[in-house]
Amino acid sequence: MNAIEAHNLSKAFGTRKALDGVSFELPEGAFLSIFGPNGAGKTTLLRVLSTLARPTAGSASICGIDLKESPNEVRGLIGMISHASMLYPDLTAEENLVLYAELYGVADPQARARELLEAVGLSHRRIDQVRTFSRGMTQRVSIARALVHDPRVMFLDEPYSGLDPHAVDIFDDLIASVRGDRTFVMVSHDLAKGFALCTHALVLARGRVVTFAKKEDLDFEDFAQLYRDTVGMGVS
């Protein structure tokens, strides 16, 4: 079964089309990196696939479940990490994770929160408010938050934004350790890193798919040239 299927997805804000007939199919366990210039529609695509925004036209499904017909079922299958942590700064790391675990209906929220904080190496800071954390530490708690309900598909929206190189290494190690057979979709401006991590690559420009291919079918230099040409297209 495909983890994600998108058919002619479109999203318009007024007269401006942020997505224009996006179609692709991603098998389970794949890692899709989405590239494109600013304003290409990358984040909009992620927001539509994660049910945060409704498509204007077209359809999409996650693990065979239609986004429009059963959004709550889809939400139970997905997790999201973005450059914003989605954590309440005045709550402690543990309180944040327990909050999300309770909302998702995890059996023992307290135990799950502690297990995840252990996994991201922050159990010693579990009763500290997130406001007191560094950007890298906050992002680690954000990973724990996204994993609290053990999702099958993970969306990463420019997760490296604002991280120093050391924090990027820690983040990469954590993502590798939780990868398993999960499907990942990542939006990134870092072409080399995104290409290194992915099994599939997608380039968006002006809301349209320029390229969607398996990594094994792509040569990095050619791909990089294609990307540079795409960025040169700019946005409408």
Binding site: S50, T51, L52, A53, R54, P71, N72, E73, R75, G76, I78, G79, M80, S82, A84, S85, M86, L87, Y88, P89, D90, L91, E95, L99, Y100, E102, L103, Y104, G105, V106, A107, R145, H149, D150
Partner: protein, 234 residues
């Protein structure tokens, strides 16, 4: 992992809002101080002319001016935590009915507004009405205060969501809020004034406005509850 009941999710979200507020005291402090300042301004404005004013007949209006503007301040802040770090997106990613988010946030706003009223209404009485004989009906002011607070918190929560991402959200909130609560405000001012003044036919000016205010609450809260999914998704 079974999906929790809507009530369990409501309790979790409400507990989160209360815990945050008791930890930061942002809304309660700002609303409380603002209400106190309005009382001080009333004091200055009425000091020279107080002898010529029948404060009992003005009390309802003055009290509701205080409540409306204090509420506006609080409601404008009610989604500040959700906006910071895109927490609203985090909640929206959870499989839950959007109306649960509305109910939890509206309940939290009702509780915060009532907490401020519990302090400011006795202060208002102490500063402006303590020198006058108390009408036997005075304590009925609790009814319009409660009904008005529930309605304003519900409508304000909805409008606060709509204006959350607008550029001048505080102004937008006020522009949308005041006209929408006007019927409720009018009814509550009438009922409150009737209870404070306690004149011979006070029930005529108390019961009907209160019934209308209750009806307005029910209709508006139902509309907000039904439309909330559309509003947060749009």
């Amino acid at each position: 992992m079974g999906r929790p009941s809507a009530f369990a999710q409501y309790k979790t979200l409400l507990a989160k809002d209360l815990r945050q507020e008791f930890r930061t005291r942002e809304m309660l402090t700002s609303m409380g101080i603002y209400a106190l300042l309005v009382i001080i301004v009333y004091g200055a404005a009425l000091a020279l002319t107080a002898r010529g004013i029948d404060i009992a007949n003005m009390g309802g209006g003055l009290l509701w001016v205080l409540i409306v503007f204090t509420s506006l301040l609080g409601l404008g802040r009610s989604f500040a935590h959700e906006k910071e770090q895109a927490c609203m997106d985090g909640i929206m990613l959870v499989p839950l009915d959007r109306s649960v988010i509305f109910l939890a946030k509206a309940t939290a706003n009702i509780l915060f507004m009532l907490a401020v009223e519990v302090i400011t209404v006795p202060l208002f009485y102490f500063f402006f009405m303590s020198g006058q004989p108390v009408a036997a009906t005075f304590f009925w002011v609790v009814a319009p205060l409660l009904v008005g607070t529930i309605g304003m918190a519900g409508i304000g929560t909805m409008l606060s969501t709509i204006t959350m991402n607008t550029r001048s959200r505080d102004v937008m909130l006020a522009i949308l809020f005041i006209p929408l609560i006007y019927p409720l405000l009018y009814a509550c001012v009438t009922a409150t004034t009737a209870a404070i003044a306690g004149t011979e036919f006070w029930t005529d000016f108390f019961v009907m406005p209160l019934v209308l205010a209750c009806g307005y609450d029910v209709v508006m809260l139902l509309v907000c509850w039904v439309l909330y999914d559309f509003v947060v998704s749009a």
